[in-house]
Symmetry: D2
């Protein structure tokens, strides 16, 4: 299949590579040239501007949020590409519900098929092709994209409205954040009474909470593993702010999300901007309790 791929960041570079390895002809664009070169070395074809990547049967985009997506789709006039209306645009970025609606309207106006397909999973999962992908858009367009998405992970379909995929992605990430804060507070609580957090998590995370989120992040929290993630908190704040914004759009207050927002700021004020948010939130909980 001939496809376009826009956005070769920590996630997109792995995803595009998987498409190349699967034998597709992939036209790639990225804001920075180095990532493009790496993909070309794997067999991809370089595009000089985003619009050039708007070609083939399917175009996948993976950008870092509303700002980057707006710069490319709106300011970069990607949808004005000559053959845009012949492709299906599958945007896998995490964007706001409001912007997903705006993009739906814009694609309709430009007569380009639009599918939203945000993902759960970190760069390792992107590399392994084991992302969880939430897909929403017109059936016909989704059908065309499915064979491609199968290389990237497991697909969950969610009907025809792109913004539904967006809100599911946002709500799911909120649930992750809540799980982290719950573990952070619980770890501080048991530690303050002399119990090792690892002993505690060994019990609850192997029974009631025997799920990937708890087990992977629980280990980081228990062992105070200083996991470096460049701009990790900025990403976490983006996600929590997306939840708060989506709630505000419909008058839904989310007190746990508000607390997470406050705690992420606390973490940033204490030099954890470049750490995984599990580590950062655990530091906040322990620091408040005087546990260091």
């Amino acid at each position: 299949m001939e496809v376009g791929f826009i956005g070769l960041g920590a996630m997109g570079s792995h995803m595009a590579a998987n498409l190349v390895k699967a034998g597709h002809v992939v036209h790639v664009w990225n804001r920075g040239r180095a990532a493009v070169d790496r993909l070309v070395a794997l067999g991809a074809k370089a595009c000089a501007i985003p619009r050039d990547a708007m070609r083939g049967d399917v175009v996948v985009s993976m950008l870092s949020g509303d700002v980057a997506a707006r710069a490319v789709f709106i300011d970069g006039k990607v949808l004005d590409a000559e053959n845009a209306s012949k492709t299906v645009h599958v945007d896998m970025s995490t964007i706001s519900v409001a912007f997903a609606k705006e993009l739906t309207a814009l694609h309709a106006k430009k007569q380009v098929a639009y599918v939203a397909a945000p993902v759960f999973g970190r760069p390792q999962a992107a590399k392994a092709g084991t992302l969880n992908i939430v897909v929403a858009g017109p059936d016909e367009a989704v059908e065309r994209a499915l064979p491609l998405l199968a290389h990237l992970g497991q697909v969950f379909r969610l009907g025809e409205k792109p913004q539904h995929a967006s809100v599911v992605k946002i709500a799911g990430t909120l649930m992750i954040g809540c799980a982290l804060e719950a573990m952070a507070e619980s770890a501080a609580l048991v530690e303050s009474h002399g119990v090792r957090a690892s002993d505690f998590f060994n019990i609850v995370n192997n029974t009631m909470f025997a799920a990937p989120v708890y087990q992977s992040y629980g280990a980081i929290i228990a062992e105070r593993r200083d996991v470096s993630v460049p701009a990790g908190l900025a990403l976490a704040e983006r996600d929590i702010n997306l939840a708060l914004a989506a709630g505000a759009d419909e008058n839904v207050s989310l007190p746990f999300a508000s607390q997470l927002r406050d705690n992420l700021l606390d973490a940033r004020a204490h030099s954890d901007a470049d750490r995984d948010w599990s580590f950062a939130l655990a530091n906040v909980a322990r620091r408040r309790g005087g546990l260091t």
Copy 2:
């Protein structure tokens, strides 16, 4: 084995029955006579006062919290029973960390072996013998209790200090409450944007959150299942207040616990006192967002 069993409530009655069925001679006491009669019909022996049940190799107690436990252990002078020092007292009640410490001191003074063994699990799990039991106490005493506990569920050992089992039970329940609130808020969020909560949970609770707590409570929340639990909120409030108290003992603030406390009050003010807390918290989140 000859054992005592104090407290035949929704949990204890099933647990004592399992011990009887396993062939043990079980001397039972309960505040209300009806529950005693039911156990006697299964083969247990009735005790007129708690102190009479303080006999045999092991005495298990399962009471509804600090108040009930204090009434029996302190006011009822159970530890003054003639052969108390020959038994091992295994208290499986959920009690405060402070009271666990007080009981440790009292047992030491009275020379009665004391093991704390609070459990995770609801009455169905008590009936099925599939509780998760957190055990802490002197090794020798724990060893004597283990064969008995094996009839009741899976055992997790946690060292020699009884209060450590107490804080682990409390922190684990806090994590459950946080998971419920996280699902309640997320369900309200996706619903406000037109996505069914069941569609959302089908995705996240079968992947990142594929764990018993999420799957069982997620169904209640998604389907707005009006699960009746007599005094359900009072029990939930007891548990969250235990977490807040354990935190306050050591100056550890727990913002998610504080939020849960507030939301449980909101639920109680809106006639959900006798509902499962998952249902009640979901109602709070939806009501605040005007979703009904």
Copy 3:
């Protein structure tokens, strides 16, 4: 003095009128024509576009926030007016700290003197000329503006950096919101125990809290006065979001502000969008407690 005046809303129309009455020649512009006509009837001179009002010794602007101010100052290219650099621009709008900084840079580039002078006070105070005005900007520019501001209210000077006035205005409004929520919760608390809120406020608001904010809003809360304010909540949310944004700029978490944000959403979800925020927040507190 010859002055310009941009923005004749609920506040600005009174303020401009006061300048006219004081004998100044006032060139007014407003997005809607009706407000301009009313001022012209009082003796002001109409401007067709904002840039036409950028004339005279001082130009005052009073717009409804970042969006409106950006539309006029940036998109409307007001600072490119022919004689802009001969005037002093006194912006009395409530805007974000970030935008105040941006405006400072823009004015410097365009060589227009810029003074920030946001106000505390509602339309009645604007009418009465009793606003509290927080003024920051270059001394010379401030000196030129002072005689004019004297017609509008009491001036508090705060140094040379315009954004300092902005953050003081924002923080002061946060304090008002906190006072409202404090009264809302306290009123619900005493009422739930059978004490009239008015009896309670008669005590505390005449002693410890004998201040205008408490006395005026306390009466609204106690008497459940259904004060209609078109888009009242939107304005309140704007102000609280400005506080949260200013905090986030510098990693300062503001838990009371977060709570206010959540409660304002709750109010909006319950049809209080067009009410004074004191009334709306009191409704939230009472509704949560089942007091209606």
Copy 4:
């Protein structure tokens, strides 16, 4: 008048002294002997046990909370004193609403007139006789107490139910705590942007918030005045916990109170247990924002 006085702590010692100075015959009791001796030196008469002070026309008690009051009134069987039913008992302690109700029932049973008269004001105000006193109880009893209370401060009457005075005292203190946190957050906010808190408070606390609470505590916060108050935080926590308990009694959630509780724990975890709560809360807000 012949009166009894029970409880000579930081507040009670000044209050009893004022009664002595006003010419009354005051029979005093206190748990510690030293305070009794100081009052005797002023002209009071010493009592060996609390019950001995239960005499005369009016008996005033000023104890440090439920625990101390319970020890004296219930365990100390003060109401069983021979002439108890001839006196009017005016309890000026800050106690829970629930305990005020319990005391009402107990006094009724023992046929002793009971007036609740908790106060707003710190030891300096007790010394100066400028307390604000909230009085509730049977009219006849209150009338007898009024001449005495006039020596201690300004009286606000609140009907016949003693617990009404209790909840008003509790709600008023909650409002103080909220004002402190509001100032703490606002101070952190303006400081993070380079504005001195004192410059900010000079504006808002002399206009909208021109009230004693804001002006006295605002100075402490702005100047980071390290005000030592032995067990200051314990007292503050007692008061906030009273509010939370009174709310929980009637299902009223108080989110600002919950936040205050959390922040006081944070302060305690950071060695501010013996500081005024204004100073302690300001430290929490600044520390979270990385401002030190």
